[in-house]
Symmetry: C2
Subunit: 110 residues, 2 copies
């Protein structure tokens, strides 16, 4: 089917999974790292930097914009992307909340 049954999960589960999923592609990880390393909003040096076609990069940027982790502002004839720091930190804390749930030792698995 290929169709995820979102109805049967909680909003939180769906939302958290959607965040993970959006980061679940090496190109998107690379894009984020590149933006961070440049310490500036880099536009499509990404096309040169990563070995992907312009259309493909644009698609990945769209996906990252969709979850809000980056913002794009028009800067002359190019577009300047940068991390939305507020959301960046929020995502991190949501992930940490997930990972910080107490895992009890049980004995069944050594």
């Amino acid at each position: 089917m290929g169709l995820t049954k979102t109805e049967i999960f909680t909003d939180d589960q769906n939302k958290l999974a959607a965040l993970f999923k959006a980061l679940g592609h090496p190109a998107r990880v690379a894009i984020l790292q590149y933006i961070i390393n440049q310490k500036a909003c880099i536009c499509n040096d990404l096309v040169d930097e990563l070995g992907l076609a312009q259309a493909t990069i644009s698609q990945h940027l769209k996906e990252l914009k969709r979850i809000g982790v980056i913002q794009g502002t028009i800067e002359g004839k190019s577009v300047c992307y940068c991390i939305d720091e507020k959301l960046w930190k929020q995502i991190q804390s949501e992930f940490n909340a997930f990972f910080n749930q107490e895992v009890k030792v049980t004995g069944c698995c050594p």
Copy 2:
């Protein structure tokens, strides 16, 4: 194409993305939460708990086992799954390393 070009990314990027991706499905998030909340290694009460077919749950468990975040040990005629705490914490710290990269303010995005 549907084929991710892993060759053009670093191992770290591919690995990190693979971890994110594995968690990028609400069923897998739900499974992990369920195992954690039960404070024990629950087998396929999951089939009753979540509304997914046994084959589907088994597939998701396999995916989680693949990245090592859970372990399954045979317990009589059923299988007992639990979180691999060591890997759990390692994944968390890898995620945090990613998110803790310094994001500088740049001025391009308000």
